[in-house]
Amino acid sequence: MSARSISVLLITILASLAFTPSAAAQGDLAVVVNPGNPIANVSLGDLRKLFNGEKRSWPGGIRVRLVVRAPGCRERTALLQFLNLSESDYKQYWTARVFRGEADSEPFAAPSVGMVLEAVRVFPGAVSLVYVGDLKPGVKVIKVDGLLPGTAGYLLR
């Protein structure tokens, strides 16, 4: 291997080390909110209530806006496991909530992580689940049961 190849490899490795989280944290799902949201921690129970629509406003009174990934995405699969629902049950669940007037619509299903992050940056009450490796500046990661992603005992992955 030439010195140039080694240097390119070195650049790549160092860049990865410098600008990405640890491999262990990559598989964790971060709960992200708008930076203006004062919330810092959420319990696992409240997180479930947020994503099943039962908790509809933040402590400050701002309306919760759920942003989820589109069907088939790994974040969606993780969310459905977290809620103990199948894709069909999820759809039916939200149709019923809308029909009962408990929600405006089914949560916005973003086709890309970029759109998820944009929505969370833009809407004050937005909340979503993003894999740590996909995080970008402009959103705020909150603790779940007092733990941040990447720490021992963090349950969302």
């Binding site: 930076p35 806006r65 894709e87 049950d89 009962r100 929505a119 833009v122 909150i142």
Partner: protein, 434 residues
């Protein structure tokens, strides 16, 4: 993070210089590009330092700002507040339903029901004495919702309900102005589904939402012969009660639930109950430690009449309900018990009508088999519900979801009836949402 970035930049420079030592003249352009990128990174580091300095200064000036430890996970570069509020793209705004306007949806159904008696099971849907099998459309619901402000919205459920001889009745099943102060207080004004029991609140009038082809008799709409005041006009308050992991919620209603119900024998006789103003107090709990479990109960009180006897002869009507429901992991288990207590105010006579139903189903892929047993015992001496008597029996069937919008259901019913032959029925249904 800045330290890590600076170290990385130093290594980048070292690596770039290593690359330069062994490079051919043709690589000079690449090296120059790398150097340019390193310079850009240095500039970015400098900018970030400046931004951090400003943020620290701002934070010092405003103690209520979010602490840094809450804005970043360890080893992550995200979670920095932006200097200005970003604007949403029109596509995103539309997708997030941030536009005022009316959103429409709907539910429909087509039914085929065959009975082994030439006597209908319910006073509804075009069944007349002498007809043993019928097609009918049931309810066709148009649902609309509009958000007026951040906390105020309007919803309506307009149902076209089939009556005799392909005539359709228009029924404004729900028409509500809703105000959501916070999660502890939500106010609804208008026509609502009463909070008696789980079924009435959970499924409303949409067959597509139900696993079974029909509602349990005790939860049937009064306009179809059901016993309970399923709808009312008035005010409804709901909200969460601070109860930690117990997940307690309350329901309080005050309204007019005036009801006219047809007799179940299809005779065409109607009873105008002339209800007064009802009071309902209810609660339900969704414990954090058992996702999918819901426990609840309610107390309902009103005064009604029996128009077949005398409108002046008033009855006190008290309805008690309790339920245990579990919906998760593809399992649906609905269990509700009722006690309807009618007290004839003039004579002091009391009639108790106990009722319950239990329904369980489990989803396997697109198929959801179900079984239900229901029981209802209205005293024949109770002149208001003397057409009902004792009714009990099981239902079996399955629901098949073609996709997220269309479902087919097949259901077999067996009903024992006091003073009447047992009733067996086949009920097929295509239900859809749009």
């Amino acid at each position: 993070m800045l330290r890590v970035s600076t170290t990385a930049v130093a290594f980048l420079l070292l690596a770039a210089s290593l690359a330069a030592q062994d490079s051919a003249p043709s690589d000079q352009k690449t090296i120059a590009l790398l150097v340019q990128q390193v310079k850009a990174l240095q500039q970015e580091t400098s900018d970030l330092r400046e931004e951090m300095r400003k943020l620290k200064a701002d934070r010092a000036a405003a103690p209520s700002a979010v602490p840094a430890t809450e804005t970043a996970a360890p080893q992550q570069p995200q979670a920095t507040a932006e200097a200005s509020v970003p604007e949403s793209s029109p596509e995103l705004t539309a997708a997030m339903h941030d536009l005022h306007g009316i959103q429409w949806g709907g539910f429909g159904e087509l039914n085929y029901q065959a009975l082994d008696q030439r006597q209908p099971g319910l006073g509804t849907y075009g069944f007349v004495p002498g007809s043993a099998a019928n097609f009918y459309t049931g309810d066709f619901d148009l649902f609309l919702h509009s958000r007026l402000t951040e906390k105020t919205s309007v919803l309506a459920d307009i149902a076209f309900e089939e009556a005799d001889a392909q005539r359709y009745k228009l029924d404004l099943r729900q028409a509500l102005l809703k105000y959501e102060m916070n999660e502890h207080l939500r106010i609804s004004l208008g026509r609502y589904q009463t909070g008696i029991g789980y079924y009435n609140s959970a499924f409303r009038s949409a067959a597509w939402l139900q696993t079974t082809a029909d509602r349990p008799l005790i939860m049937e709409y009064a306009s179809n012969g059901g016993l309970l005041p399923t709808q009312a006009v008035g005010i409804s308050l709901t909200g969460a009660i601070r109860s930690g992991k117990l997940g307690l919620n309350y329901i309080a209603e005050y309204g007019s639930s005036d009801t006219i119900r047809p007799d179940l024998d299809g005779s065409g006789t109607f009873n105008d109950e002339n209800d007064g103003n009802h009071v309902l107090l209810g609660w339900f709990a969704r414990p954090d430690w058992a996702p999918g479990l819901q426990l609840g109960g309610s107390f309902f009180h009103d005064k009604i009449s029996d128009s077949e006897i005398s409108l002046a002869d008033r009855f006190g009507q008290t309805i008690l309900n309790s339920y245990v429901v579990y919906v998760a992991h593809g399992i649906e288990s609905l269990n509700e018990a009722f006690l309807i207590r009618e007290t004839r105010l003039a004579a002091g006579a009391v009639f108790n009508i106990p009722a319950f139903y239990s329904q369980i189903s489990r989803r396997w892929g697109r198929v959801r088999p179900f079984v239900r047993y229901q029981y209802l015992n209205a005293s024949q001496r109770n002149t208001i519900f003397n057409d009902v008597g004792l009714r009990a029996g099981p239902s079996f069937g399955a629901r098949y979801d073609f996709n997220d919008s269309i479902a087919f259901k097949a259901q077999l019913d067996h009903t024992q009836r006091e003073g009447l032959p047992d009733l067996n029925g086949l009920h097929l249904q295509v239900a859809f949402t749009f």
